[in-house]
């Protein structure tokens, strides 16, 4: 099966210090890829490379034909400018903007789609509220809605459950699961526990991509990724995936 996204030997860093080295990864149709690893391991950078926000030093990222502009990006909670006054609906609408239409007005199609997605995300009642007055879980859903309004075929989420409470976490997990029926999903997180029952494909990233497959993890791989696995994995990787230490 042809990959949706094919990443080969990707190397990238900041200020001559490599953050990612020779990373290769395939994202398939309807995939649910969980990219885990310690903070500073290059997870966010990997998403930024895929989204074209930064350019790789070497290596390639190939998108399947027709996929250009169909990647939905849900950046980390803290990434956008909280000082910008904007309503939830306006923020979702900014997801319609791309390199070709940023000088045009929003069309009625854009508005309809935004309304539909706000409704689906349970945000319709809140559409006129200032984004900064919303709760963590609601803001996270606004960020997902912004990505969905461009009708993506792959959804890439950066720490989608980190800044939300337990109830919202369950809602967001269900939502991602539901979306996965229509599109491939890539989730980047340092805390994979909530995703243990749902992911299909696991990648462990700490500068190198240590593991990439569907089978269970073993302790040696985890040790390489995290350095010292026992403490870090206390509430990390689901225990069933690990062999005994």
């Amino acid at each position: 099966m042809e990959s949706l996204i094919e990443i080969r030997d990707l190397t990238f860093g900041y200020d001559s210090i490599p953050v990612l080295e020779r990373v290769s990864l395939d994202i398939l149709d309807r995939d649910y890829v969980l990219v885990i690893g310690p903070n500073g391991g290059g997870k966010t950078t990997l998403l930024k490379l895929i989204m074209g926000i930064v350019r790789p030093w070497s290596g390639s990222i190939r998108l399947r034909e027709g996929l250009e502009g169909r990647l939905g990006y849900v950046p980390q909670f803290s990434s956008f400018n909280k000082n910008f006054p904007i309503t939830a609906r306006e923020m979702v609408l900014t997801g319609c903007i791309d390199g070709k239409n940023y000088f045009r007005r929003y069309g009625s199609q854009d508005r309809d789609r935004a309304n539909r997605i706000l409704d689906k995300m349970g945000l319709y009642e809140l559409r006129r509220r200032n984004v900064n007055d919303l709760s963590g879980g609601q803001i996270q859903r606004v960020l997902i809605a912004r990505a969905l309004v461009a009708e993506p075929e792959v959804l890439l989420l950066d720490e989608p459950t980190t800044s939300v409470d337990i109830t919202s976490r369950a809602t967001i997990l269900d939502l991602i699961g539901e979306l996965n029926e229509q599109m491939a999903v890539v989730v980047v997180t340092h805390d994979p526990t909530p995703f243990a029952p749902v992911y299909r494909h696991l990648a462990c990233l700490n500068r190198h991509l240590y593991y990439h497959g569907r089978e269970g993890l073993d302790a040696t791989v985890m040790e390489k990724v995290y350095g010292c696995p026992v403490e870090l994995l206390g509430h990390g990787i689901p225990h069933t995936l690990l062999t005994d230490h």
């Binding site: 930024k48 990006y73 904007i86």
Partner: protein, 276 residues
Amino acid sequence: MLDVLSYAFMQNAIAASILASIICGVIGPFIVARRMVFISGGLSHTAFGGLGIAYWMGANPLYGAVVFVLGAAVAMAGLEKKVDSSDLLIGIFWALGVAIGIVFIHMTPGFTPDLMTFLFGNILTVPRSDIVTALALVILICLVVFVFFKGFVSIALDEDYARARGIPVDALNLCMMVLMALSIVIMLQVVGIILVIALLTIPVAIAREITFHFRRVMVLSALWGISICLAGLAISYIAELPAGAAIILLGAFILGLIKAGKWFSRRLFLGRKAAR
């Protein structure tokens, strides 16, 4: 009192106030939302260098300021990506501009300008020709912001996301810097270097107390800018105070009133809630 309106200098002052306020409504909200207030401070001080050189050459100081501020804006937009600390850059441009201005004004023979005029401007001496230039620039700035509004908003809100969506972030950022530079030059004529910063921020701060819809913030900023400028002019005429300073003091006073009013009403509301 109304017969003062028949004087040409007053008409020019009113026209300049309205034009400057429109600018502050169009550009100010972006500057405030993007926390670029001190970039605008740095840019307005580099203008001083241009003014100094223009005086020394005997040219129209407006042109000197335009060249300097535009140059600084382009340099800042370009260097910001390479230099880690844009803060550092702003400080250097700020000081350098003022130093160049002072050196050239010092070298200009027989010319001892009042430095206060540069700092606080003199809205009552704005010549008609500057009003025409300002009007042209206002139209240009409004047109550009109108056309690229969505792009500017998406960059101000989330630059990485805009990049991910293929929006030409660097080009639009440069464009915004140039617009900011041009705005500053217009406003220099009205309230002077230091108070450019105030006019870009106070009306916006008032508008942001009232609404969180970005477009409404823009419109309200412009309207508050006009009201404050005109009322400030009237106060300065009646109380014989410097116009620029009167405008800004009035603006700050109104902002303080609104903030205090909101604080008290919140206390009152919470108090009632607790009593229940």
